[in-house]
Structures are given as structure tokens and as C-alpha cells.
């Protein structure tokens, strides 16, 4: 590669430095790089990489050492907020989807057993959903519902009766194919439900309490809020820091 092209690439890397630094030292930086290339017979490409790495490291250091301009402080805060927001929403979605794993497995298992000829008596109510212990556990309940959405059998009760999600959800699930829903039968009882339509018109439903997952989501939200606060403090610190002007030209 020709030397002037190498120098042009190096000159571009000088934009990594703050404007004031660049204006103060640009000619000297280019002169030092030019002499370094002139001195060598070969290995110019490798020297360019060394210079670019130097620009990246020292350029970022000079930027950190220089107070941010208001627009840059706003842009930095906005970009960091956006990134953290996307990360928080993604993490929240991942945690929420974890709540569907066990119900999905339970539904598949029960549907398979029913398909092999078992009847609804495979489900006997043994647990109470409204118990705090159950709500804080990772237990699942399962139920079989007729085409009208009325419960036929279930492995748990809600205040002594079979859990009874709104009947309107069942035909909608058959129409939309969306098999995962959140059901809140009462305050503090929130369940992640998975529904599978059966060939005979019935439905198999399995659910798990969302309480343990909502706790994890709360912890995540707190972590991201703290991270966001730290980012804003860092941007504010860079903005309000005392200016250290570059040494004046003589």
C-alpha cells in the first residue's frame, strides 16, 4: 500500500480524538507517523495497525478526559438508555417465557397419554392453587376442558373448585393458534397457561404460578434501573467535569 494512503487512513483515525486535541496536535501526529513509515523498508501495514490501535486507545482516553458537549451528553445518555431498555425488555421476555416451559411439557405429556387411550381420571385434584406455598413453588397444575370450556378434570383446585379460565379463550385459541396466555383469576394469583386443543374438541390446559418469575423480573428491573442511574451519573460526570484545556500553542 502506498504511504500516502496509509497516512490518509491514519489521518481518518484522528477523528477518534476530541476536536480540540486534533486541532492542536494533528500535524505533529501525522508527521510522527510519516517519519515512522519513512524509516521502515517493510511492515508498513503492521505499523498502520499499531497506529490505529494507538489512536483508538489514546483517542478514547482523551475523549474521557475531555468534558462532553451538551449534545453529546444527551446522545450518549439516550443511546445508553435505549440499549438498557432493549436489554431489560429482552431479559423480561426471556424470564416470562421460562414460565411456559413446564406447562408446555405437562400439556404434551397429558395429551400423549389421552391419545394412548387414558381418560380424564389421570388428573386428580391434589393441590390448592391459592395456597401461598403453591404460588411460590414451581409446581404445575393441569386440567381437561370440554369444547365449551367447562372443566372436566384437574390436578388442582382453586378455592375448592376446578380452575375455570374464561370460556371465551378456548375458541380463540383454536382460531389464532396462540396457545400461551396469562390468566389472573384474582388479585395476587397470576398463572402462565399453556392450552392444547385435542382432536375430540376438548382442551388440555396446564399452568404455573408467575410469582417466582415476577420476583426475578423485579430483581432484573432493579438491576437495570441501577445500571441506568450509573450511566446517567457517568454521562453527567463527563459533562460537568472541569475543563482541562490543551496546552496552548506557542
Amino acid at each position: 500500500m502506498k504511504l500516502d494512503r496509509l497516512l490518509r487512513i491514519y489521518a481518518l483515525s484522528l477523528y477518534l480524538y476530541p476536536k480540540a486535541f486534533r486541532e492542536r496536535y494533528r500535524e505533529q501526529l501525522l508527521d510522527a507517523a510519516r517519519q515512522a513509515y519513512d524509516e521502515r523498508q517493510s511492515g508498513h501495514g503492521r505499523l498502520l495497525l499499531v497506529h490505529l490501535r494507538d489512536s483508538l486507545g489514546s483517542g478514547l482516553w482523551e475523549r474521557i478526559s475531555t468534558p462532553l458537549r451538551p449534545l453529546h451528553a444527551i446522545l450518549l445518555s439516550g443511546a445508553a438508555t435505549l440499549v438498557l431498555l432493549v436489554m431489560a425488555v429482552t431479559a423480561q421476555q426471556i424470564v416470562r417465557r421460562q414460565a411456559d416451559v413446564r406447562p408446555r411439557q405437562a400439556v404434551a405429556s397429558i395429551a400423549a397419554r389421552l391419545g394412548q387411550g387414558a381418560d380424564e381420571h389421570i388428573l386428580q385434584p391434589r393441590e390448592e392453587i391459592s395456597d401461598l406455598d403453591w404460588l411460590h413453588s414451581d409446581h404445575t397444575f393441569a386440567g381437561i376442558y370440554n369444547p365449551a370450556g367447562e372443566p372436566i378434570a384437574a390436578s388442582a383446585t382453586l378455592h375448592g373448585a376446578f380452575p375455570h379460565p374464561p370460556s371465551v379463550i378456548f375458541p380463540r385459541i383454536r382460531q389464532t393458534g396462540r396457545t400461551v396466555i396469562t390468566w389472573q383469576p384474582e388479585n395476587r394469583v397470576r398463572l402462565a397457561l399453556t392450552v392444547r386443543p385435542l382432536p375430540n374438541g376438548n382442551y388440555v390446559v396446564a399452568g404455573q404460578s408467575l410469582l417466582p418469575f415476577e420476583r426475578r423480573e423485579s430483581a432484573l428491573r432493579l438491576s437495570f434501573a441501577i445500571a441506568w442511574g450509573l450511566v446517567l451519573c457517568a454521562a453527567g460526570g463527563l459533562f460537568f467535569r472541569r475543563s482541562a484545556p490543551y496546552a496552548p500553542l506557542r
Binding site: 505533529q28 510522527a32 517519519q35 489512536s55 489514546s58 482523551e62 496546552a247
Partner: protein, 113 residues
């Protein structure tokens, strides 16, 4: 570094880059590339690191610019009396550290920056 620091000890310990630059200027004024060439004997240094460090040394009053080359592309730098005292103090500090290491049986090996 701040211009308010006037005692050489206030500037210690020096970073390897600062020490290498002051040492390069100890025997007379030099321009940036000459400093970088000599400093590379001790520490890996690119142009950006050199001028960033030089700027802090100028601000701290350890180095001054002495003028321009004939083609006005190169600026020359000289160490100030304060800069020389800082270099002397750092050298003494390093000598004490080396002596302590040798007392503990540590022997130098050939090291290339």
C-alpha cells in the same frame, strides 16, 4: 497532573510513558518523533500516546515547547528544571525499588519493550 504541584514528589510515581519521555529529553531538546524513537527503547508508544502524554507534561510544567523546525512541521520540546527534578526523584525511587528487589534475590533478565 496540575500546575499547582511544585514538589517533584507530588508527581510520583511516573507512568512508564512519562518516565520514558522525560528520559528521552534529559540530554537535550527533541521533536516528537525523536522522543518516540528513544522512548520505544523502554515502552511501546504510538504518536497519540506520545502527544497526549506530552500535553499533560506541558500543562504540568515538566516540559516546554522550544520552537518549530524550519519547515514548521515539527515542534521541539525541552524538559524544565522541575521536570528534571521529577525525573531525578523517579530515578531514585526506581533505584530503591531495584535495590530492594536485588536484596530479595531478584536478578535482572534481558527485557525488550
Amino acid at each position: 497532573m496540575s500546575t499547582a504541584r511544585t514538589s517533584p514528589e507530588d508527581h510520583l510515581p511516573l507512568t512508564p510513558a512519562v518516565f520514558a519521555i522525560l528520559l528521552a529529553l534529559a540530554d537535550g531538546e527533541k521533536h516528537g518523533y525523536a522522543i518516540m524513537q528513544e522512548a520505544r527503547e523502554h515502552v511501546s508508544m504510538g504518536p497519540g500516546t506520545l502527544y497526549g502524554t506530552l500535553d499533560r507534561l506541558l500543562t504540568a510544567g515538566l516540559v516546554v515547547e522550544t520552537g518549530l523546525s524550519e519547515d514548521e512541521r515539527r515542534r521541539y520540546y525541552r524538559v524544565t528544571p522541575l521536570g528534571r527534578r521529577v525525573l531525578t526523584a523517579e530515578t531514585a525511587r526506581l533505584q530503591r525499588a531495584v535495590a530492594m528487589a536485588q536484596d530479595k534475590g531478584i536478578r535482572p533478565i534481558e527485557v525488550k519493550a
